[in-house]
Every structure is written in structure tokens, then in C-alpha cells.
Assembly symmetry: C2
Homo-oligomer: 592 residues x 2
Amino acid sequence: MPIYTAPTQDLQFVLQTVLDVAGSDTPGYDELDADTTAAVLEEAGKLSANVLAPLNPVGDEQGCTLENGVVRTPDGFKAAYDEMRAGGWMGLDADPEFGGQGMPYVLNCAVGEMFVSANMAFNMYQGLTHGAYSAIHAHGSADQKATYLPNMIDGIWSGTMNLTEPQCGTDLGLIRTKAEPQDDGSYRISGTKIWISAGEHDMSENIIHLVLARTPGAPEGVKGISLFIVPKFLVNEDGSLGARNALSCGGLEKKMGIHGNATCVMNYDGATGFLVGELNKGMRAMFTMMNEARIGVGLQGYAQGVVAYQNAAAFAQDRLQGRDVTGPANPEGPADPIIVHPDVRRNLMHQKSFVEGARAFALWGATLIDRAHRSGDAEAQGLISLLTPVIKGFLTDKGFETTVLAQQTLGGSGFTRDWGLEQFVRDARITMIYEGTNGVQSLDLVGRKLPAEGGKPVMAFFEMIKTFVKENEDDAALKQGFLDPLKAASKDLQAAAMYFMQNGMKTPANALAGSYDFLHLFGHVCLGFMWARMAKAAQAQLDAGVGDTAFLQAKLVTGRYYMARQLPATALHRARIESGGDTVMALDAANF
Amino acid sequence: MPIYTAPTQDLQFVLQTVLDVAGSDTPGYDELDADTTAAVLEEAGKLSANVLAPLNPVGDEQGCTLENGVVRTPDGFKAAYDEMRAGGWMGLDADPEFGGQGMPYVLNCAVGEMFVSANMAFNMYQGLTHGAYSAIHAHGSADQKATYLPNMIDGIWSGTMNLTEPQCGTDLGLIRTKAEPQDDGSYRISGTKIWISAGEHDMSENIIHLVLARTPGAPEGVKGISLFIVPKFLVNEDGSLGARNALSCGGLEKKMGIHGNATCVMNYDGATGFLVGELNKGMRAMFTMMNEARIGVGLQGYAQGVVAYQNAAAFAQDRLQGRDVTGPANPEGPADPIIVHPDVRRNLMHQKSFVEGARAFALWGATLIDRAHRSGDAEAQGLISLLTPVIKGFLTDKGFETTVLAQQTLGGSGFTRDWGLEQFVRDARITMIYEGTNGVQSLDLVGRKLPAEGGKPVMAFFEMIKTFVKENEDDAALKQGFLDPLKAASKDLQAAAMYFMQNGMKTPANALAGSYDFLHLFGHVCLGFMWARMAKAAQAQLDAGVGDTAFLQAKLVTGRYYMARQLPATALHRARIESGGDTVMALDAANF
């Protein structure tokens, strides 16, 4: 069975030492002092390691079952869900007005990383609820908020997002689900939705579905889509559960991974629904969920990498094969642990340098969201809007890659079920696809986010890196190992953006065929920036003689690996981009 | 259900137009005229598409079952196996002295690609038999050959390779299985072997196990290992089946993929075995199997990419989402097929340019093997010995990557079982691991093959590329699109080799920590070389006005993509290598 150790020390290093959350003037961050965060992380870590992680292979093996419309989750899921509820984890960052604890989003992300590393499929049930909560909180009426939010924050009710239909995935303009207005102000919802995560299950008493649908005569395409609340059980005036709504789970999807999560076909047969926000403005409301979900999916991606790496490292310490080429490291044993071999090290360093960089990147992104929401900081809003597709796309592509690398460390054992690595690979794979495939993320980045506000956010990003480099160039060690490579990588990113500006207007393919590489180029620069900041923070603590010396030195060494061996990928991505769209588009569609 | 179309036109292009097998003076290649090869490929293609491919999801879903020591393969496997036998496919390139057809190995590989694309798990049963056949053929006594080979070539008996034990995977020196000599010249074999593909099943009447074991008092480590034939049923003097041998399948491995293949724990409880070749020279005999198996695994890797790509391309032609940014391509429909989108194209071109390059590389390698075996050509032997780890490592890493890319083309559908893409991903994953993990391949390449014969083979490789470039530089189109990038990539490879020579002697980690990147660098140069050769061949046919114009032009366009967007990866691999071993080895083992 795979192991999981909560990375509380590294989470605290990022939160306190690198991001200095306790010292931030973002409203509410005064609650993030070192002791409070440590206590929260400690508790969440225990729950993750002791309750959620042991259920992960169980969920994979058993999956969910559908019988007579009833979906059963794997053994132990319901009890764990109740334990999560009892601990108040589901409302950690939710609005206190409706029963939430009101903690910053960044803390929720730090906790969420652990929950997801321990059991991704399980954590999706509450993840979806959180997304639905956010959409109702942002766009629902006062009455809707009062009716639904307290129970959703508690977890006794859960939530879903219903977007996809068989003919319509990325292109939501093709939605056919109908919403017919009724005399009492409600709507009758009819249609079929597919791939609905947590669409039906046995963990909560009610499920609040958020459904995109089209009213009669609505404008064509995405401009005619509205968002509706469609509860599994209608809610009486007094808040108690009323009649069963006309909706049902029509099937469970068989899929590569996340077996513990029920991926449902949902049939709406004239179900009663309630409009959220304005008519035909459903996309806007849905994007509230979506943007949050995209950060959450980025987190899922690297979190699977975290647990996979832990297992790879433990295996490499333990497995005896061959001898250290420089002399036996374990002369009494029949062979040396494979961690002595340089190629095993290369693989482990690749994993480690990614997941630690990714953690810092994701949590930095979360502080920007808090800043935007809690301080109304427009610059932070612009920046996180720019970075959201990068967090989603880069952290899931590389997170998946990390699980594959970790699986490779185990050799044949990595391919067998017993060791659990292959589950991490299969579970991580979905993160590159859902909430918008990573190709779609790259189009969002290049087509929408890059030119947004006349390029202000991306300029601010470059300026931020430039300033950081300038401010720290006097530190010779930091300059050579971190700032110089970061500068070179940032130059590649600027050149690629410039290429798009100069060549993408007249021939869109020159930009669009380079969008995927641009997303990766951007991701590497972000992780390079994070590593430079982490190195600075670690060195400062070492110089001051505070903190855990071995941990801090490991941080510096791991960062140097990233800068030397991962960051140079920016030049390759730039070369691909600058090769233009011609070679990509030259082949006639019929000749594929 | 996934589709499969036999790529006979492209196989013929590589065999006849690029490699000119019919014009080669390698003994036996006179049988490879265009008509004969076309007929063979046609038949194998039909078998693959009509019989094997439909069984692929069945095998995945059902897997193998073990009950009372009996292993049952999935429904339909036995009938398909019998059809393969009846067609004489199992002995296509086997020695006519023992009933084989004696065709060149390269033809066997071309046919094998199709079998593996259609159903990898199924094809392993005969693949393992072929490896065991080769080892007995090369190292067995005349009596052993007469006893075992005819039935193995026929397929009525199958074969296996028994290397791995729980404590011993890569490091075969740790083998504990015992072989005690008996008065009659046989040995009593006792021990447990794991991960034995096709170790027990219901398709053949007898299974000939080749088992590595240690005799009493043998030297320690790999120098004390011998190879034994241990048949499931002992064979009587007259060739009929005798007593059941004391061996049994103790369990089936649950694994990520290749469910249709029985991966067995094999228990040898004083089983009767017969020494193959000399005592304590088992490793040499095993390497006969292993080298062949490594080429075969490289072929498996890209063959999974082939079928995955086909399904991705078909989906992209069919699935309607969004509109072509340059104007509707399907104005009558609700949306355009997603193949119009540049990022979908990029992904498909990546897949296509890899699998076609890989096919040429693998088949070129197969001609070198034929050359070495049939002409005793030492230079060809040196070259294929050098290229074997590259074929295995690069084609499986990139083949797996291709299945993941293809899965991505399908979006959410790629994650569901129904579409079959996720099976290709799971099946392809093992190719990076078995027959020596790709990390081990890279060590073989850098540690053994590069310095072999004082570097003669690698020098010959560089010379071959230099000569090709020189001979064709007058062709301006070839020079710009193909030769210049090839030259640059080859320069990166030479620089990396030089780096190892100058820095790896004193500090082995400088070479060993770069071995994996070197393998990939080498692989890219090989595919770049193949694309340059294919472009030249295609252009020559176009100039001469022969062949299928659309096919030949697609070849040129696809090659240009590879040169522009894949080959530049050589610079990244070189940069990583030249960053040295320090950042890889600096972290104390305790701090992972």
C-alpha cells in the first residue's frame, strides 16, 4: 500500500517564509500566524494520512455502483465524509454569514493539497460542492443563499456543475438542455448532461445541481445560456426536504481513473429549477465556478505528483539493486539502495524540484485570489486571471508527468496495482482534461489573457520579475544559480509574446499553433521565479541562523537542479513557437 | 470501439522506397520484392484489423483468470491464436531447418508492428515464444533444437523468459533460484520467479520455460548464472508429451495494463531442467533473447502510438466543436470538426511525425540485424548494438507520450473506457519498464555501447550522417528543411558525447546523470536522420512522377514538422547534460 506523509514543513515554509502570509495586509491574513496555520495543517495532515489515504486504493478497486437509480460510494467513503464534516473542513474558507469559518482561500488550498494527495477521488465530492457554493454565493439571490448555502457549507448537502452534453464539451454554445418558465417563477428543466462528477451518491442528504440550460427563444450560442439551481430534493419553506425532483442518474461512466468518484449521466425530465442571476448570463456565473475549479484542478495535478514522489523516494531508499559506481554504499548488504545511482537521482530530483516549485506557485496564486477578493486589488485580479490557465495547464501536465516518472522509479513494481503508483498516474490523467483541456487553457492564455487590459497584467508580470532580479543581483550565489537563468527564461517568454504580436494578427495560426508551448514556457518561468524566491528566503534564514538547516540547504540544492535542468526548456518552447504555424497547418485535413 | 487500419502503404514506402530492401544484397532479401512484401503485409493487416483488434478491449476488460493452477485467457484469444498458427505467422522468420519460413527479420518486424498495434497483450504470447526460440536456436544443443524448435515455430508449444525474482530485477547477480545437477545430466530447479509473461495459459499444449538459475558452488553474481530449459510437460524420446514437470503458476499479477497477457508468479519445486549452452554462461544466452526482445519492445512502444494516433485523427475529423478562426469550415453544420483548430493540429502532427519516423527507425534497425546475422557484417553488428538501447528507450518513451497525446485529442472521451484510448496508454506504459527500464537502457548506451570497440560504432554513425548531408546538400529544399537541422542536432549529440569523454572519467556522475538525456538526444538524431532520408526518397519519387502524390507530399510536410518542432529538443538535452552531475547528486540521500 502506498505511503503518504503530510508535507506540513514545506507548506509552512512557503506560507510563512516565502509568501509571508502572516505579515501581509490582506484582510483576514492576520489569522494566518505561524501557530494557527501550523495547527490547522497538522490536523488536516493527520486526517489525510490516517483516514483519507488508506481509502484511496479501496475507492479505486471498488469504484461506485448504480442500482435502481441509487449510487453507492466505496466502503468507508461515507464515514470519512462525515468525519470531514464534523471537523468543519468543508466550510474552512466559506462565508461566516452562512456558517463558514471565513479563513483565507490560501489556507484552504494548503489543506486541499493534502486532501487531494491522500485521496483525489474522495475529495472531489466536497470540491464540487465548494464550486457550487461559490457560484450561488456570487450570483444567487439573498433567498437562494439563505436556502442553500448553510447546508452546503456544512456538507450535509453537496453540489455539482452540469455543463457537458453529448454533443457539447468545450463548445458550450451547443447546449440543448431546455428551461421552460412556469407561472410560479420556476423553470422546467429537460435534457441530458454527461460526465457530472458527484452527480449522484450516498454521502449527502440533498444534492444541489447547478445546470446550464437554454430558455425558449433565447439567443443562439453562449449568449443564450442561463444557470439554474436544480435540487435533487425540493426544499420546503421551512428549509426541510420536500418532494423528489424529476431528475435521475442514468448511468455511471467507466473510466481510466478516479473510480471512487461517481461520474454520472444526469437526466432532467421536466425537473424544477430556479434561475441564478440574470437570464442569458449563465456563462458568467458558470465562470465563477470554473475559475475556482481551474485553480483546484492545477492543485490536483501537482498534489498527485507529491504523493507519487514520496512513494518513489521511499522505494529508492529501500530497494537494493546494483552497486554505487564510486564504491559500495551498503557493503554489508547484498546490494546498494538504488538511490545511489545517478539516473535514479536525476529522476527523483526532477520530481522533487517540480512538486516543490508547483506548491509555491499554486499558493502564491491563491494569495492573489485572496488579495483580489478581500482587498479589491485590481492588479492582483489581472495577474491571477492571467495565471489561472498556467496554473491549471502547466501544473496538471507536469503533475501527470511526475506521477509517470515516479512510477518509473519503481520499475516493474510501478506497473502493478499493489504499489499504488499506477493509480496516481490514472487519477492524475483526468486533470489535464477536465475544466477545459489544457489545449483550451493555452488558447485562453494566448487568445484572451495575454491581450487582456491592453497587455497590462503580462507587463506587470515581467516587471515583477525584473524588479526581483534587480533587487537581488548583488547576491552572487543567487545571481549565478537563480537570477541569471530566470532572466534568460523570462527573455524567452517575452520574445515568444513578441512573436505572437508581430505574427499572430495577420495569420492567427502563428499564435494558436504556439499556444501550448507558450503555456509551458510561461509555467517554467513561473516555477523559476518561485525557485528564485524560495532560494532567497532559504538563504536568508540560513544566514540568520534560524530554521532547519538541512531542510533549507535541501531547498537551495533542489532549486539549483530546477534552474539547471528544467528551466532550459524555455528555449525549446520558444524555438517551436518561432518556427511558426506553417509546419503545423500545411497538411491537408484529409491526409491525417 | 477503437478503429485500426493497417498502415501497409507506409510500411511499403519505408521498406521499398526508403530502405530499398528489394535492392539490397543481404542474403534472403531477394524475397522482399514489392509484390511479395505487399501480399504478406496485406494478409497480416487483415488479420490484425479483423481478428486481433476487436479482441483488444475484450482482453482488457476480462483479463486472465487463475483457478486451481489453470490460467484462462480472455474469450476469443485461443481461437485467434489458432488462426495465427494456421497462417504460419509464428515461424515467419524462423529457421527453415526446423519448419520456419526463413523470411528476413525486417519483414517479421513490419508484420509485428501491425499485430502489436491491433492487440499488444495478445501478441506477447508469440513474442515470448520467439525470444525463447532464438535463445535455444543460438545456444541449444542439436538435440535440444530438434526437440523443441519445430513445435515452438509452429506455435503448438510456446515459450517464456524467467529472469526476475522478488529480490532481483535489474541486478541479476542476486538470483537465488537453485539448479542441482542430477545423475542423468539433468538439473533440479527450485525457486520463485515473478512477472513471467505468458508463464501459464491455455493456448499451447506445452510451455518451454527458459530459466536463469545458480548451480551449487557457482561463482557469485552474474558469473555464476546458468540457463535452463524447463518444460511444463517433459518431452518423451518420441517427441510426445510426458510427465507434468514440478512447476506451477502461483499467482497472476494485477497490473495497470496488458490485462490480456498472463503475468505469472512461477514456482519451481524441484522441476526437471536441462542446461542450455555452457555452465555459468547463462547471461550470454539470455542476452540473445534480451537484445531481440528490446527491439521488439521498441516496436511495441511506437505501435501503440500508431493505433492511438489513428483514433485521435479520426475523432478530430468527426467531432464538431467551435469554429475555424479563419472562417467556418462546415457552415452547414452546428460547428466545425476540431481538426481545423491549430492546437489540435499541433497535437496530431506531433503524433504523426513521431510514429512515421519511429517506423522507419525500427525497420532500419531490423535491416541492420539481418545484415549482421545473414552477411556477418561486423559494422552492422556494431551499429545495431549501439542503437538497440535507443530503439528500446526512445521509441517506448515517445510511444507512450504519443498515446497520451492521442488521448488528449479526445478530451473527456479519451478518459472513458468506451473509446479505447485509455487502454493504449495503460498498455504502452509497460514498454518503458520491461526488458530493462529505460534508465537501464540509457546506462547501457552510455556505459557500454558508446565506448564499445573504442568508439568505432558511434564514429561510424556520425560519419554516416555527415556523408548523407554532404551528398545531398546541393538540393536546396532538402538542405534548408532537413539537412541543416539534422546537422545541428548531430552536432549536439557529438558535443554531448565529447562532454562525457572529458568529464565522465574522473567523475562518473557527470556521464551517468546525463545518460537519460543522451538517449533521447540520440533518438531525436536518429529520427531526424530517418526523416531526411524519407524526404529525399519522397522528393525523388515526386520528381520522377511515380507513386501517390498526396501521400508523398504529406510525407514531406510531416517531416518538416518533425525537423522544425521536435528535433530542436536536442539542444535542451545537450544543455542538461552539460550542466553536469553536481545538481543531480548534491542532495543527501536522507533529504529526499
